[in-house]
């Protein structure tokens, strides 16, 4: 079999819970050493896709290959290649940090002597070498995440799968987590596939797949997707967006979109910067802020679905 250039290839994957179709014809390709983000609001099917790739759910429709091997035909060798980081930490709270890691190594059949060496190295690499004897339940959320990363990397996977890895973490720890993952990518040549509903987390990815209600609405490199959306625009913060939008529309030569607490104004001709200055002068009484923006992934979602990202249902 020829070596695949792709760490993960997903082709035409679909999934139904009973009669309810939750994923339909999903395609993605994660290049070796690359970082791929599956982005979507809550309920878009990200976690279902993640569970299929991580082999928790059976593959119903389509094909998935990992490192060139079919997930359907060779689930066990595929599992050996994967390091899986779940939304909720998959650690035992009643065991110590070191016991959790040891247990994980045993699950993957690592040699006991080699396992202890790897545990020491990973705890040190993740900065938790002094916490080895502590119960996981006594650690903070951020430290638990570090322990889990140390655990997942014990088996030296070539692909790291992460499902909403920063859920429940505060912004400072989120940023710390991403810098840890970035460091690991550089040192271990890992391919990373992750899901998120946070737009800003998708930005550093090499490629993204935007999901909505189980369908792929866009995919490709973030920079290309963004430039496909066109020009820079102006966002005016206001307490009465409808009123302000109506006034600006009357001027013509602009495209106006009403947002919950702002108005988005795209110039039909010319640049956005002079438009921003003019709007600020003309509507200074009604405008609370003026922002010069580049098209974002949020704009991409709006363009593809006709809905605002912030209007998508949240988790209950």
């Amino acid at each position: 079999m020829a070596e695949s250039l792709f760490a993960v290839e997903v082709e035409g994957v679909g999934y139904s819970y009973g009669k309810k179709r939750v994923l339909d014809n999903i395609n993605l390709k994660l290049e070796e050493g690359g970082m791929f983000c599956v982005l979507g609001p809550n309920g878009s099917g990200k976690t279902t896709l993640f569970k299929i790739i991580s082999t928790i759910f059976a593959l119903q429709d389509g094909e998935i290959s990992v490192g060139g091997r079919s997930l359907r035909q060779f689930p066990t060798p595929v599992r050996k290649k994967l390091g899986v980081l779940f939304q909720n930490p998959a650690v035992d709270m009643k065991l110590t940090v070191r016991e959790n890691l040891r247990h994980h190594g045993n699950l993957y059949g690592l040699d006991p002597h080699d396992l202890e060496t790897r545990i020491n190295k990973n705890l040190e690499a993740l900065g938790v070498e002094n916490r080895g004897g502590e119960m996981v339940e006594s650690l903070s959320g951020g430290l638990r995440r570090r322990v889990e990363i140390a655990k997942v990397l014990l088996t030296r996977p070539s692909i790291l799968l992460m499902d909403e890895p920063t859920t429940g973490l505060d912004p400072a720890i989120r940023s710390e987590l991403w810098s840890i993952i970035s460091g690991i990518r550089n040192t271990r040549k890992l391919s990373v596939l992750f899901t998120t509903h946070l737009l800003e987390e998708a930005e550093p990815a090499d490629e993204i797949l935007l999901l909505d209600q189980g369908h792929s609405v866009a995919s490709g490199k973030v920079s290309e997707l963004r430039s496909s959306l066109g020009k820079e625009y102006v966002r005016l913060g206001t307490y009465s967006p409808k009123k302000l939008a109506a006034k600006i529309r009357k001027e013509g030569e602009v495209e106006v979109t009403i947002e919950p607490a702002s108005v988005k104004v795209v110039p039909s001709r010319g640049l956005a910067a002079p438009l921003a200055v003019r709007l600020w002068r003309e509507y200074s009484q009604e405008v609370t802020s003026v922002t010069l923006c580049r098209p974002t992934l949020e704009d991409l979602f709006l363009q593809k679905t006709g809905r605002l990202w912030s209007s998508t249902p949240g988790e209950i």
Partner: protein, 255 residues
């Protein structure tokens, strides 16, 4: 890899059990207290059919209590399947190369070890019930207790695997397992029971486990083993095998 993974999961069960002191005390003390109070309370009030003398209920009830300890420990150790799923630990096991079979055998081994250990500790109280098992009887007791523990852990696993609520699990246990134990001969002998109860007891595999335990405990040093021991043992083994196979089928199914 599979054996290493199963061993690790079994070790985890035992470690978690020993770290939860209230669980250790509850699992051991409740049945013993139950035996002591009910056994002493009923005392010699009952005459077993076929006997002229009144039976000491502390003695009659003892094998039933050993059975109850195995039942409780084996089944409650499988509640952790639901907790593991809810807390997220299980998913980490399911993505491991042999995760599905390892979780089954890890739980079976772990649950069995805990149940056997506790049952044997209680069996050591046998002289207080006028039972005097020798080494030979203890060996057979260990064998039947182990097979019963595997079977009952498998039964608990079978029920716990598709469930996501520990409350639901406990409700089902009360509805299903307590009557199963009642109808094993643990509380009353089949000989004096109503016809339909006797029929239910006849088809209850746990009755044969109880019969084997009672027969072995009643075997005094130097006496031959009970004649129906191999019959009881065969039924318990066959039922256990079926339950383990059912668990294996269930655990191999993915959503």
């Amino acid at each position: 890899m599979f054996m290493q993974a199963s061993y690790s999961l079994a070790l985890r069960e035992v470690t978690r059990f020993l770290r939860q002191k209230n669980r250790v005390i509850g699992a051991m003390a409740t049945p013993v207290l139950f035996w002591f109070l009910l056994g002493s309370g009923v005392g010699r009030s009952l005459v077993a059919p076929g006997f002229r003398e009144r039976t000491d209920y502390l003695t009659y009830f003892f094998p039933g209590i050993v059975l109850l300890i195995i039942l409780f420990t084996a089944i409650f150790s499988t509640v952790s399947v639901i907790e593991d799923r809810r807390e997220g630990f299980l998913q980490g096991v399911l993505v491991a190369p042999d995760g599905r079979s390892a979780i089954l055998f890890g739980k079976l081994i772990g649950g069995t070890l805990l149940a056997v250990f506790q049952a044997i500790v209680v069996v050591l109280l046998a002289p207080y019930s006028d039972y005097h098992p020798d080494a030979r009887v203890l060996f057979y007791l260990l064998a039947i207790i182990s097979v019963l523990a595997v079977g009952l852990t498998a039964l608990g696993f079978l029920i716990a695997w598709p469930m996501d609520s520990t409350q639901g699990f406990h409700a089902l246990i009360n509805l299903f397992f307590v009557p199963l134990w009642f109808l094993s001969g643990a509380l009353f002998p089949p000989s004096g029971a109503a016809g339909w109860i006797r029929t239910l007891m006849h088809f209850n595999p746990l009755s044969y486990g109880h019969d084997a335990l009672a027969g072995l405990l009643a075997t005094r040093p130097g006496m031959p083993l009970p004649v129906d021991l191999s019959h009881d043992f065969s039924i318990v083994c066959a039922t256990t095998l079926l339950l383990v196979m059912a668990c294996a089928v269930q655990v191999s199914r993915r959503s």
